[in-house]
């Protein structure tokens, strides 16, 4: 098991290196740090532009720049220098990640609970009215565009706030501009801001997972060991949860881990609608301000995150299902 984990981890490294090279080429060709300086009025002199080029390292050949970036990352743990003033890439990215993780973790938790409850009930009551109704609702959520649904919920929340004259839903930012003093009030403030974005994203995510859970639960319910468990005279609930659900959860864990890249995309959009200062804003402003090293850092962090999640999916699969032998 340990050997396998280490080997998988080592296998991920070439993918990661290859992907950093690909993204370096993409960033180098599409994000030019000179853009804001080329349109300055009055125009900068040729000598000034040249000194800027040297400062941004654009005079060096591409491979050399990649090598510098890679060694800076590996040997010194730096993401390079931002073109934005007083902008420490590592610190800013760390803050943005913390904000986005609130959304992603909250979403995964809520969506998983929903998916398991819905998946198991519909599998147990297959082809009942309940099954058809929840399937229809699930398909509806599967068919909603993230952005449209987020805007819709936001507008509804504003209308509810206005009509009740309260300020129950926070529709802007990940926390209040002047957060209340003390740890608990701050936590409460953050939770209140989380409600809408997390509800948006988890409703959009649970549907696919609940279909998945339903299918794997159906497969387990029809299996021989379930019949044996029932024949042994175990109580129906014990059969369902200890023998059924435990096995039926295995495929879902893998699926959830594999869906993280898509979830991050959804998070970027949801954050933008609710004006969260997370990964989405970090990336969009880095692009708009033509800051290649920040863009690189962002892509690197998300790529590592996705690769690690895929690795966890593989390992979890083996841990949860002893039939899978990792050699």
């Amino acid at each position: 098991m340990l050997v396998y984990s280490v080997r998988r981890l080592l296998q991920s490294i070439p993918i990661l290196v290859a992907s950093t090279f690909v993204i370096f080429l993409m960033v180098a060709s599409s994000v030019d740090p000179m853009t804001p300086y080329l349109t300055k009025k009055p125009p900068l002199s040729a000598a000034q532009l040249e000194s800027l080029r040297i400062r941004f390292g654009l005079t060096k050949p591409l491979l050399q720049r990649y090598w510098d970036w890679l060694t800076g990352l590996v040997l010194h743990g730096t993401f390079g220098t931002s073109t934005q003033a007083n902008f420490h890439i590592g610190q800013q990215l760390g803050y943005a990640m913390e904000v986005t993780l609130r959304l992603v973790v909250g979403t995964i938790l809520i969506a998983l609970i929903l998916a398991v409850i819905v998946g198991v009930t519909t599998a147990v009551r297959q082809y009942s009215k309940l099954d058809y109704a929840t399937t229809a609702v699930g398909f509806l959520f599967l068919s909603l565009p993230t952005f449209w649904f987020a805007v819709l919920l936001k507008e509804w929340a504003i209308q509810i706030n206005e009509s009740t004259g309260t300020h129950f839903f926070d529709t802007l930012w990940e926390s209040s501009p002047n957060p209340p003093a003390g740890f608990l009030p701050q936590l409460g403030d953050a939770f209140q801001h989380m409600i809408l974005p997390v509800v948006t994203l988890s409703l959009l995510s649970y549907a696919a997972w609940s279909r998945f859970q339903r299918a794997s639960m159906l497969e387990v319910l029809g299996s021989d060991y379930m019949r044996l468990a029932r024949a042994k005279g175990l109580s129906p609930l014990r059969v369902l949860f200890r023998h059924g659900l435990r096995n039926a959860l295995i495929p879902l864990t893998t699926q959830v881990a594999l869906d993280t890249a898509a979830l991050l995309s959804g998070a970027v959009i949801t954050e933008t609608i609710y004006s969260w200062r997370g990964m989405g804003l970090f990336f969009i402003s880095a692009i708009q301000l033509a800051d290649p090293d920040s863009v690189m850092a962002w892509l690197l962090v998300t790529a590592v995150f996705v690769i690690v999640m895929n690795l966890i999916a593989d390992l979890l699969y083996a841990v949860l299902d002893p039939r899978i032998r990792l050699a």
Partner: protein
């Protein structure tokens, strides 16, 4: 089921002629081709059939509608922000553009983009996956790692970046199709590879090889046709995925640009319409996106059930 042999006791009575006739009928069970079986099962899926009807109506609306409703989707009239009424069934927007014709045009381009992406992504993915699974070994490892590479980045980020790069160029439609294809082909490749891995061990592949078939013939004539069910299901679901992703990309400013339009662009331009007091501008294009995605998802579900011979309706 008409093909079942009737063995009830009453049938043993009767004349020899009748018996002969019955015996004759009992043995001429109607042969059904794979296609007929699939069509039959699909028709039994009520939600899928209903969705198919609605989807066809949406397609007719998008492609035949403009022949009946001839207002140009880029004509700016003086009626600004009129609510839905007789002269403008879907109302008008801030530029006085008739929303009905804009929605027709938008549905048209969204559908065309979705179908092109779906066909290209599924074809590329299926062939790639089949080759990878068929050869196995290090070829498989390398090919699938490359496919994984495409799944490592949130596609949204790549789109924002490419948009920044190609902002000024008119080729954004092809770029959009390229980005969406890049997003969807690895999924198809994975599924088809998994199927080919088990199919290639079957006897018919061995038989084909014994008859002297080359690798290419085995892949294209023996393996891929056997994965046709999955290919059709994937391509259907890709259409829904593409429509939704196109909306997300439009929101980020990537993709179809005015005067051309798409459903994603329409909801994006009208994202503040609810606050502004013109909710129809936001709701109507959104409902069309949902309608297409929803019907396609149901059709895909029906096709999956129809194609999957192992899916017996077990009552647990």
């Amino acid at each position: 089921m008409p093909s079942r042999v009737n063995t009830s006791a009453g049938d043993t009575l009767g004349t020899t002629a009748e018996q002969a006739a019955r015996a004759n009928r009992e043995f001429t069970v109607r042969a059904r081709s794979q296609r007929q079986i699939v069509a039959r099962r699909f028709r039994q899926h009520k939600a899928a059939m209903a969705s198919l009807v609605v989807f066809v109506l949406v397609v007719l609306f998008a492609f035949l509608g403009p022949l009946l409703w001839t207002t140009s989707p880029s004509f700016m009239s003086n009626d600004i922000f009129t609510a839905p009424s007789g002269s403008h069934p879907f109302g008008t927007d801030s530029n006085g553009i008739d929303l009905l014709s804009a929605v027709m045009k938008g549905t048209q381009s969204s559908l065309i983009i979705a179908v092109v992406v779906s066909v290209v992504a599924t074809t590329v993915g299926a062939v790639y996956g089949a080759v990878s699974g068929f050869y196995g070994g290090w070829i498989d490892t390398v090919m699938m790692r490359i496919a994984d590479l495409f799944l490592t980045f949130p596609i949204i980020a790549i789109a924002i970046m490419l948009d920044n790069r190609f902002q000024q160029e008119a080729s954004s439609l092809w770029l959009l199709i390229g980005v969406l294809t890049a997003l969807f082909w690895p999924g198809a490749a994975r599924v088809i590879r998994a199927q080919v891995l088990s199919l290639k061990e079957k006897e018919f592949v061995e038989a084909a090889r014994a008859l002297g078939a080359r690798d290419r013939r085995i892949i294209f004539r023996h393996l891929l046709p056997n994965t046709l069910g999955s290919i059709i299901v994937i391509s259907t679901l890709t259409v829904a995925g593409t429509i939704l992703t196109e909306t997300a990309l439009s929101f980020l400013g990537f993709g179809v640009q005015f005067p051309n339009t798409s459903l994603g662009l329409l909801v994006t331009t009208n994202q503040t319409a609810i606050e502004g007091g013109h909710p129809w501008l936001f709701y109507i294009p959104g409902v069309f996106i949902i309608l297409i995605a929803l019907t396609i998802n149901f059709i895909g579900d029906g096709l999956r059930d129809a194609f999957d011979p192992q899916q017996t309706r077990v009552r647990a």
